[in-house]
């Protein structure tokens, strides 16, 4: 193999354009596969750690079919959970606490500026109990409000410091959707820009602003410590289904959410994987085609090499290695491109404080890819290589 490297590389350089075009299919295929492997793993890890921060002892209930959880998120479902559902959730065995939640954007005026902010609304007492315990909310300055009917709000770290040209202090006034509110507290950073940019009000004030009544878009239940979260979630599912008479809602825990998202990722991986496989096969056929052309064009060259003492076997190895190298060159380019891709995405994620998405340079993946693409190349190059090795020296030398 090493002995032929020079001959092979010269031949590639001699036919640069064809070499490049041949390699393209393998480049696309291996780029797809590698990007999948690199990003897929990074993404799963990132998601897992995000969902863990969600709180392992919480059960979430949302309107929308269980087999279609994403569309529920995406539609931003109209509150379809009734106060009565909430009461049933509270009464379910194993539920320590439960609250209804609304999420909505409001216009906020402060110091002569207007900005749109994302609000989360829920009763103060439960909010504090659930978020402080399960999600690690902590007040940095000020204090949690205690009475729901007061016009008070709590700001995330970024909501207070970043949205307006002047940072907002505890005790100052904001106008939310035309109503005056006083800032009761500012939270410590949660390490996630989406959460940190949010503002919190009581569900009572939310209803006062919007005029909505009696429904919420999500319920959050905290499971009594020591109980199996999954079991309680199953009980909740059963109780609610009985009350509502249908299963048009979704109960999930951070674990089951991870499963669902993982499942979606799996499907995405499968589809991209299929594309990659097709690209690799197309690439392999391209190599076969190029090798057939090459063997035909270089018939005389084969004759020369045989006259100079090349055995059938060495001609076979020469062309097999050449086809394999075509594959491996494609694989090497695929490695470079996909690491480039992955690094760009990692950088983009890091600049949004999502440092959890980390792509590692894995020598096993690199060597595996090179080996795999080499094998693809030589497998598809096998028939042309056998054909070349069987050429009769004098016939080959007579070939014009």
């Amino acid at each position: 193999m090493r002995a032929y490297l020079q001959i092979i590389l010269r031949s590639f350089l001699f036919r640069k354009r064809r070499t490049f075009l041949t390699v393209l299919g393998i480049v696309i295929g291996s780029t797809l596969i590698l990007t999948l492997v690199l990003l897929g793993d990074g993404m799963e890890r990132a998601l897992a750690s995000q969902l863990q921060a969600f709180g392992g002892d919480l059960v979430f209930v949302m309107p929308g079919k269980a087999d279609d959880p994403l569309s529920g998120f995406l539609r931003g479902t109209s509150g379809d959970l009734k106060d009565e559902d909430l009461r049933r959730i509270r009464e379910t065995r194993g539920v320590e606490l439960a609250m209804g939640m609304q999420i909505k954007n409001f216009r906020v005026e402060y110091a002569g500026e207007t900005e749109v902010m994302n609000f989360s609304a829920s009763p103060w007492e439960e909010t504090r109990a659930i978020f402080e315990v399960s999600q690690g909310f902590q007040i940095e300055s000020g204090a949690w409000p205690t009475r729901d009917e007061q016009d008070l709000l709590v700001l995330g770290k970024l909501a207070a410091s970043d949205r307006f040209s002047r940072p907002i202090q505890v005790g100052e006034e904001l106008v939310v959707s035309g109503k005056r509110f006083t800032v009761a507290g500012v939270l410590k950073s949660l390490g996630n820009p989406d959460d940190d940019a949010r503002a919190y009000i009581s569900i009572d004030r939310f209803r006062a602003i919007t005029g909505e009544r009696g429904t919420v878009m999500m319920a959050v239940a905290q499971v009594e410590s020591g109980l199996d979260v999954k079991r309680v979630a199953e009980d909740l599912q059963y109780e609610l289904e009985r009350r509502r008479g249908s299963g048009d809602f979704t109960v999930f825990t951070s674990d089951s959410a991870l499963e669902i998202v993982g499942g979606v990722l799996g499907v995405v991986k499968l589809v991209l994987g299929a594309f990659a496989a097709v690209a690799l096969i197309v690439g392999g056929v391209g190599i076969m085609n190029t090798m057939f052309t090459s063997v035909l064009e270089r018939t005389r060259e084969v004759g020369i090499m045989k006259a100079l003492g090349a055995t059938d076997r060495s001609i076979l190895y020469l062309f097999l290695s050449e086809a394999g190298l075509l594959g491996a060159i494609g694989g090497a380019l695929g490695i470079l491109i996909s690491y480039g891709f992955a690094k760009v995405i990692e950088f983009a994620a890091a600049s949004r404080d999502l440092a959890i998405l980390q792509i590692d340079f894995d020598p096993v993946v690199v060597l595996g890819t090179l080996f795999f693409t080499f094998v693809i190349g030589s497998v598809f190059g096998a028939i042309p290589a056998v054909r070349a090795s069987r050429l009769h020296p004098t016939e080959a030398l007579r070939y014009e």
């Binding site: 090499m305 090349a310 004098t394």
Partner: protein
Amino acid sequence: MYDPVCGIAIDGEARFASEHAGARYAFCSRSCQDDFASDPARYAEMDPLIRLEQVVKTYDLGEVKVPVLRGLSMRIHHGDFIAIVGASGSGKSTAMNIIGTLDVPTEGKAVIAGKDVMRMTETDLADLRNGKIGFVFQQFNLVPSLSALENVLLPKTLRGAADAAAVKRAEKLLESVGLGKRMTHRPSELSGGEQQRVAIARAFINDPDLILADEPTGSLDSETSGKIIDLLSDLWRTSSKTVVIITHDPQIAANTRRILTMKDGRLVSNGGAASKAIWPTA
């Protein structure tokens, strides 16, 4: 019985015959007899480098069988400088392919460098070609993607033996054929004469016993031809190699040591054909 000098089969009563060391030898011509007399030990006691006996080569074209060699018997001795001539289609190139072990006879016996080619495997034949035979073709037959130096090295490279010493030798050879300044050029960047020099250098890289040149000047103008032939005869004179040139040019043939004439797939008696050059004194 075979003429010990040129190898032609002698049937019946020989017109030319001699005794040597108690044995009787028959010759096709006075020329062969004289040659034998001048150096009987060389012909009588040494095995010839090439010995063809009753070689038949038939090309099977499906419906028809084309007989090209029809009982070719021929001997070429170590260190000789031979021209093979004959009409187009007389089988010269076919004979050369068999001598060069690129092809095997349909029938008959071919012993090259002491080895019976009919009993050799494909790998053995390849080894024989690689180590003992250097080819020079009419079409130069250089590998277009390789530089002059890489072409000269190719017989080494194919055996994984292109080490520093081999590179040195290849450079020396290229210098000796006057291409010291062209080593990195590709064939397409060289003239016909230069390409043929590269091919000659390549033929010498493994220090073979036999140089086989099939119309080496067939694609060159007469001036360049003269230089190539001068180069080949110089190399013959200064090495102990056996050189066989197939040619249509009587002048080239006249400058070799012996002319073998082929007709209809056989050697014709070189009755009277002069062998002009003398054995090298080395």
